[in-house]
Amino acid sequence: MNVIVCVKQIPDPALPGALDSSSNTLKRDGKLILDESDSYGVEMALQLVTAAGGGEVSLVSMAPNGEVSGLRTALAMGAAKAILVSDPALKGSDALTTAKVLAAAVQRLGGADLIIGATESSDGYTGTVPEQIAEILGLPSVTFAKKVTIDGSTMHIERQTEQGYDEVTSPLPALISVTAGVVEPRYPSFKGIMAAKSKPLETVTAADLGITPVGWDGAGQTIVNVSQAEARKAGEVIEDDGETFTKVVSYLENLKLI
């Protein structure tokens, strides 16, 4: 069984992010790391391939600056190979362009039995790219997968809902988006880290994949303005005079919390 995971490399969330004032987009100049929400997809793919008894996990990713640190992390976890689409022209790409580029990268890898994406990235939050890829590739897609089992050419999915989960069956090949926390991503072993440095990682441009126009030229959106979020107002301070609890109770009652 072959699985392709769409992974995003993002600026380290532990570091303060910054906007590029010329384009009003997130600065992505420095080191990028594997989006944590994609580590669940990589882990699920590795587990499915192991359960199937054969096959491999491949990665597709898109980044404007040629960064591969995040991909190396996923390769160290156990993925076999990766394609990075990296091209200065990609800067400003919207979700649909991203989906077109990743779908083309999937096709360059020859497709797969299953394509996995995260429900949404941790820095963009559009939450639409996996389904757009499925549409472009003409595949069935299931969102919010929390448990996946493969039975021959059929996939059984428990799909997370607000009330519980739906049981969904889909033929393969297909695309799923997985929710965070569905599996426990493994930490790369030292042998995995060493091996990742020699695994195939092909870097191509959008033009190599035949996708044009991309970036701002291909985007159906423009960012016209960015403004500071309103600062949080200070909370109410209550001096304890021995009867403070009545004020706290009253406050909570007003909020209909008790």
């Binding site: 160290a76 930490y187 072993s189 030292f190 042998k191 060493m194 440095k197």
Partner: protein, 328 residues
Amino acid sequence: MQFSFSSDQRDFAASLREMLTNEFTTKQLREIWDTGTGHDPALWARLSDMGVLSMMLPETDAGMGADFTDVILLLEELGRAAVPGPVFETMTVGALALHGTSFATGIADGSVAVTAALLGEANVPHAGMSDVVLLRDGDCVSAVERSALQLTSVCGLDGGRSLSTILRPTGLGTIVAIEWSEAIDAGALGAAAYLLGVSSRMLEIAGDYARERRQFGQPIGAFQAVKHLMADALLKVEFARPAIARAAWSMAVGDDDRSRDVSMAKVLVADAAVKAARSALQVHGAIGYTWECDLQLFMKKAWALIPAWGTTTFHRRRVSDAVLGVRV
């Protein structure tokens, strides 16, 4: 000579730090203290899965054939998290003593933990949870299975380092492929690198506290007296770091002066740990000594390890012997 760590060495350390930060918080460390075992089997399994425990085993024993220059950053990270159990003992002297034996694959898969009592210690650390205890036999070292020893648990300072007295039946044990002096060098360097991590963490905790705790309208870290205290401690810790790197290189290449270099490193880091613990406690005030404050977990670890694998007197004497050729 390579004067900096390779990208692989830095990647390994970063990966280990990420795992420990996510999976082994001080809350979990306290829980281990509460169990009284001084051991966390789940964490041990993770360290085994990552390949931390088997780094210094040869590839034929499912290890990575690493030397001390490859593992000192890892040992520092383990100390920074105060990982309980005989982790540096198993990784260093355990792997070097038991490679090629039936115990080696157990070290690699996490089923065998190794501790040692090579300096006549009355109370042996980690013996209760180790599978093999290394003991001195003249200039040689013997491996004795824990099940063959009579252990009596004793109360210790550090809850991540259980102590026992041991009674060894006469003649029991198998001589292993490491001389006593080599084993001391390996264990002392392992302890030194781990203790460096403990010391760094104490200063981090104290620094965080100094930035947060306010007196007279400003953080206490803004006062010059506190700054000097912290800077002096940091200086000691940072000056011990290159000595550990030098000792690791000497051990890796089999330098004739490796015992001197190991002892120099152990003395410098022990002095740094004393200074770091005292300064961190001074910055905290009495709260630093309380059970609820994380600092005490690391101070007690430091105080337990400062005399372990040779006191500073023992190691100063080895340096003196090596440099002067006479005992002073």
